[in-house]
Symmetry: none
């Protein structure tokens, strides 16, 4: 991919508008002869495909199955190996906590231990979110600060919470405390680099104080911390691409990811139609829109082929709203594949469709994995999607004389 | 390609089995309208192709013709530019010498010189291997050690031998002594880095003593040393990919290459059927098998189109043995192309076939260069083949959350 320094020197702000529509986990493999994309009735997508360039994108590199974090980072035009987002940061971003560069965020689990401190349930019986909120309030009242670092605790849901340590000189290179098996005492948060000694010490004291506060609680009488991480030092999309970007997503994690690269979060409803309605309402305010559809992935994870087909058809029905706005560039793709047969994310490349007034249209009448495999964009890295969108929107100047 | 550190963090050991079948130099260009792959009757390969993903792989990068060393290193999942295997090491590995990290290996040629020391034949008339063995015995008896370094000499064949210097602090950065032209005296083994001064001095003394021992021999009265090299510091396939790999190959050089990345050498016979029989016998013991078929390359080098076709057909007849074992993943490819029209290795990308329960099958009914060019894997670097095989064998965890 092109170096960031070069990208910054080429990108220019123009009025042209780009829409990146991501159907999470869209790509699939065949079952009973068809993939969900092939099985779905998608007249609007198919019409669009005919006047688009098609291709396949590898989220990270061939054979590698990505989590949602790196898969989106790549789609947003960043090197997903260079910008690895820690679990703690993802969890905090997911509940839209505003983090600063002084923060170390961790993903917490409420857990149960016996009188000897040995873990009996790593998830405290998946306590209800209500109970989680009560415990977080209790802990927040008792533990506000440790060794000069502010302690910020937030409920996620069920047994999951976020613990953020905020202070100068903190470092994310601290080991998980979760031993991953029952019958053992939780591990000490060991520093993984000398610079993280202070942070590890604060985390250790936090755990001790948490255990005191929770000692008479049941079943959640302790907590485990994982994924210590700081905010990545990632340039914003405004800085790198001169865009004024917005995110339309219903799920917190994707909103969080988008906020990490500087997108504005647009308030939207719960349905796909709501998301497209938001696009229309806010059309004048931005020049880049990331629309995220979650349920293709959720049904892929469930192995629910017919439901995945229905979500694709629902998107197709909403597509005219998008087309009516006449964006300069439309890209439609997945972040990664989630084949129903695997009920999990996979390494399969994503179908990718690119429409602008300047594409070499493939003239293929379907939007599917197989048609994209024969498209003129060939197989490329997902992190090249953003430069391609910008190029097609005439937002990149010539490189060199 | 994905950094090794990331690969190590993702790879997991599972019972699923992978077979990588390499037809050396398989890829070709058309002569009389067909390539050898297209001309061959390959009903089993064609049936397999129908349910596989196809693509083309560049051994190094477009336009670059590789030797067998880098071409295989790439197929084994390593960066062939980073891990360049010196000629001396390749020659020693080829005769299955057990090398240590204290060794500097060189490729030797017996040669002829006149009374003034000027070279008259750089290969000493390609003396018979028997004569080579006699001379190596003579030299080995006289020269056992120089300046504290052990000297180990082994016959390869005809005029070729290996000289290994074994001792602490040796360095491979020493220049060849072969002037590459007749009528000149052989060059001094000059150090190419200050750290190699000691090694160069040892080599110089070795050459002087060798010339004394050989002074009354004819035609081989001297020797030339090339390709001074140490073992590369290459992580094993076990370390990098968590595999328990095995090599089935009849030619020493490929066995040597495989041993450099930690494969177990399986004893096998001389024919292709023998190699597949070995696969079946040793099936339970390993989770990764590299099977190497040499003669496609040999006949390519000879420009012998019909013989190359016959080797491909012979592999096809043995294929049912492999298919019957039901590997989780089958990859069939070449290391590089060896077009009959060039009688040499070439830069043309390799046909690549990948079969697993999870591939997006292309449904193409032939395995050939042209069909692979239209396959859904597109064109990729050969060093991505290993991550793809691992992904398809479900041997890689998710990257990031």
């Amino acid at each position: 991919m092109i170096p960031e320094k070069v990208m910054k020197s080429l990108s220019v702000s123009t009025p042209s508008k780009i829409v990146l529509l991501v159907l999470d986990g869209m790509g699939d493999i065949r079952r009973g002869g068809l993939t969900p994309l092939e099985a779905a009735a998608t007249p609007n997508l198919d019409r669009l495909a005919r006047e688009s360039s098609l291709g396949l994108t590898d989220p990270i590199s061939p054979g590698i199955t990505p989590g949602s974090g790196p898969a989106h980072i790549s789609l947003f035009g960043y090197d997903p190996i260079r910008y690895q987002i820690g679990r703690g940061i993802l969890e905090a971003a997911g509940i839209e906590m505003a983090l600063t560069s002084d923060d170390v965020a961790t993903r917490g689990n409420f857990a149960s231990m016996d009188s000897e401190g040995k873990l009996t349930d790593r998830r405290a019986g998946r306590i209800p979110s209500e109970e989680n909120r009560r415990l977080i309030e209790l802990l927040s009242r008792s533990i506000r600060e440790i060794d000069g670092a502010e302690v910020i605790l937030k409920t996620v849901k069920e047994h999951r919470f976020v613990a953020v340590f905020r202070g100068k000189g903190l470092d994310g290179r601290v080991a998980d405390t979760d031993p991953q098996v029952l019958g053992r005492v939780s591990l000490d948060p060991e520093p993984l680099a000398p610079e993280a000694a202070k942070t590890a010490e604060i985390a250790k004291k936090f755990i001790k104080r948490m255990n005191e506060v929770l000692k008479n609680e049941r079943p959640a009488n302790t907590g485990l911390l994982r994924g210590f991480a700081k905010l990545p030092e990632i340039p914003s999309m405004r800085e790198l691409f001169k865009l004024k970007p917005a995110c339309i997503a219903t799920y917190p994690m994707y909103r969080g990811l988008a906020s990490l690269v500087g997108m504005e979060m647009l308030k939207t409803g719960e349905t796909i139609a709501d998301e497209f309605a938001t696009l229309k309402e806010r059309w004048a305010e931005h020049d880049f829109f990331f629309i995220h559809v979650k349920k293709t992935d959720s049904y892929g994870e469930d192995g629910n082929f017919p439901a995945k087909v229905k979500v694709i058809e629902e998107v197709d029905r909403s597509l005219p709203t998008l087309l009516g706005l006449k964006p300069a560039v439309i890209a439609i793709t997945g972040d990664h594949s989630t084949p129903c047969a695997l009920s999990a994310h996979s390494w399969h490349p994503n179908p990718f469709l690119l429409r602008s007034d300047y594409v070499r249209a493939d003239g293929r009448g379907r939007f599917s994995e197989a048609e994209c495999a024969r498209g003129c964009l060939g197989r490329m890295s997902a992190c090249e999607a953003m430069p391609l969108m910008l190029g097609n929107a005439l937002k990149l100047e010539k490189f060199g004389a």
